[in-house]
Amino acid sequence: MPLPMLGRKTVESVRDQLISILKEMESKDPEIEGSVLIRADGLVLASALPADIDRDLVAAMSASALNVSTRVLEELRRGTLENVIIRGAMGVVMIISVAQDIVLAAIGKKDANLGLMLVEMRRAAEKLKNVIEKI
């Protein structure tokens, strides 16, 4: 589904609101080092990722991780997807669903408290959903 056709000022204003919610989430949990709001087809809706990260590629990979995880749950009859957590030696990536076809991905520090990170992401997801639903 295409995004609604909005004027440039409206698009910028919505994007600013979304980015401000992402930054607020990062300030509440300093273990979150970056975040991005993505449509399921990989379109970046808002990004607060560090500048040295290829946001389009990260968005595509996050959407892909979510797609594949959803498919695994479906095949194994484990219900709807709640979140995806990828833990590496240098940190963590967490992906949660915000609304239908929209996901929030966040990268966290090596020893990030996953419970706290998830709580802050869910709070942000509610706010992001409210902004998106008003479009």
Partner: protein, 154 residues
């Protein structure tokens, strides 16, 4: 062209397997668009004598349509520009076997429309244009497809 049908059926199986593994095909579509748009110089040089427009959207779309006809991927294409939308009517697509195979298995049509993909690459290669989404449908009996490419101006 010899081997075209077999190529198309193999293409169908490839796309079906990708989808079955959980990769969202619109996601694949967007990623290919972004990758190919960055390689526009090569495509233009290799298939259109280096004359493909990357500054004017309507010219870019027309150039791509000519290239698709030249390469015999389609028999004919009509094109109409609307606000943030390009509508295309395609006749005699060389990938029609993909749609036929997909429909025979209860699917709506081609898993990915390769002509729409080409059009979205053309749009994305133009500075200031971002690909938004695509819609397409096929009438197999008439060998005609209708494509809608949605884009945004930045």
């Amino acid at each position: 062209m010899e081997g075209t049908k077999l190529r198309n059926i193999v293409l169908y199986y490839l796309l079906y397997a990708i989808k079955e593994l959980g990769i969202n095909l619109p996601l694949l579509f967007r990623r290919i668009t972004e990758t190919a748009a960055k390689d526009i110089e090569y495509i233009s040089k290799e298939f259109y004598g280096g004359k493909m427009s990357v500054t004017d959207l309507s010219q870019a779309a027309k150039d791509w349509c000519n290239m698709l006809k030249q390469e015999k991927l389609v028999e004919d294409i009509s094109i109409e520009f609307k606000d943030n939308e390009i509508d295309m009517g395609v006749s005699g697509c060389s990938y029609l076997d993909v749609a036929i195979k997909a429909k025979s298995r209860g699917e709506k049509g081609c898993p990915v429309c390769l002509i729409a993909l080409a059009a979205s690459v053309a749009a994305t290669a133009v500075s200031g244009i971002s690909f938004n989404a695509v819609e397409y449908s096929t009438n197999i009996d008439e060998k005609k497809c209708l494509l809608k490419i949605f884009y945004t101006k930045s």
